[in-house]
Amino acid sequence: MNEFLPREFVKREQGRVIEPDPTFARRVVSGLRPVARPAGLLWDYIPSFARPMVAATTALLLALISFQMIFSAPFPEGDVGIVDAYLGEDSGPEDEWLYRYAEPPEGEDLLIEISVAEGL
């Protein structure tokens, strides 16, 4: 097995192992305490291997939100809806009754509406 170094040397070397004393672990950790970073920020609780992924995801989300805020179509202000804003220039008051109601008025009401719209 050990063809190169003399067997006696290898055996003595294998037996020569210094063991840690029972207080070693405590001494090592107490030596670490002064350099321990104060925890508190959320970032401190994220393990460093996960930080690039978290940072990339956050940056992507922020970029999407900013893009949407800058480039998305603004909603019309006041009582004017999207259809009104779009058709507003081409339509006169006579067209209003066409899309003002979900259900068109019946009978006499309809006649009044039409005569108002037509300017009669």
Binding site: L5, E8, V17, I18, G31, L32, R37
Partner: protein, 181 residues
């Protein structure tokens, strides 16, 4: 050595109880490795402390499912390598100023000390793979992983280490014969 995932996560959070438990579990392995290259308790303990300090400095980079004991053994080997190189530089500087290392006074020829002295004369980059292979009985693959070298590089270092050892042993045994005459 399989360490509890939770223990590592807690140690990463800075819980001293978990850190202490982690050190207690890994210390025998670290001491064993350091004992291969250093002989006094002070040296071995000092190296082990430095290895753990380096380990805890970078503990955030470890994934809890990683081979943590392998990580620690690599750190230990790096610390040992750095220290051996430093000692070697100091010895060369001393020799450069004309100081000669004091030879131990040996009334009778001791084969173990003879080989040990020869091993100590080897450069750290040859001594480490040699002792890991011959004494720790690690495979070339394991040595390459622990030292961060390619397998062919380890084989070359082992080959050179053996040649150098043969040369040192041959030279010193020649001197022993001359002294005996």
């Amino acid at each position: 050595m399989k360490l509890e995932r939770e223990l590592i996560v807690r140690a990463q959070r800075g819980e001293s109880e978990a850190q202490e438990s982690l050190v207690a579990q890994l210390a025998p392995m670290v001491f064993r490795l350091a004992s291969r290259f250093f002989r006094t308790r002070e040296d071995v303990e000092d190296l082990a402390q430095e290895a753990f300090a380096r380990f805890f400095l970078k503990i955030d980079q470890i994934r809890p499912d990683d081979n943590v004991s392998g990580w620690v053994s690599r750190v230990t080997i790096n610390v040992c390598y750095d220290r051996l190189r430093k000692l070697q530089r100091e010895r060369s500087a001393m020799e450069g100023y004309g100081a000669r290392p004091t030879a131990p006074n040996r009334p009778e020829f001791d084969a173990y000390e003879h080989v040990r002295t020869a091993v100590d004369k080897l450069d750290a980059k040859f001594r480490m793979p040699l002792l890991l292979k011959e004494v720790e009985e690690l495979s070339v693959k394991e040595i390459s992983a622990i030292m961060g070298l390619s397998q062919s590089n380890v084989k070359i270092r082992l080959y050179r280490a053996r040649k150098k050892m043969a040369a040192i042993l041959g030279e010193s045994s020649g001197r022993e014969v001359q002294r005996d005459l």
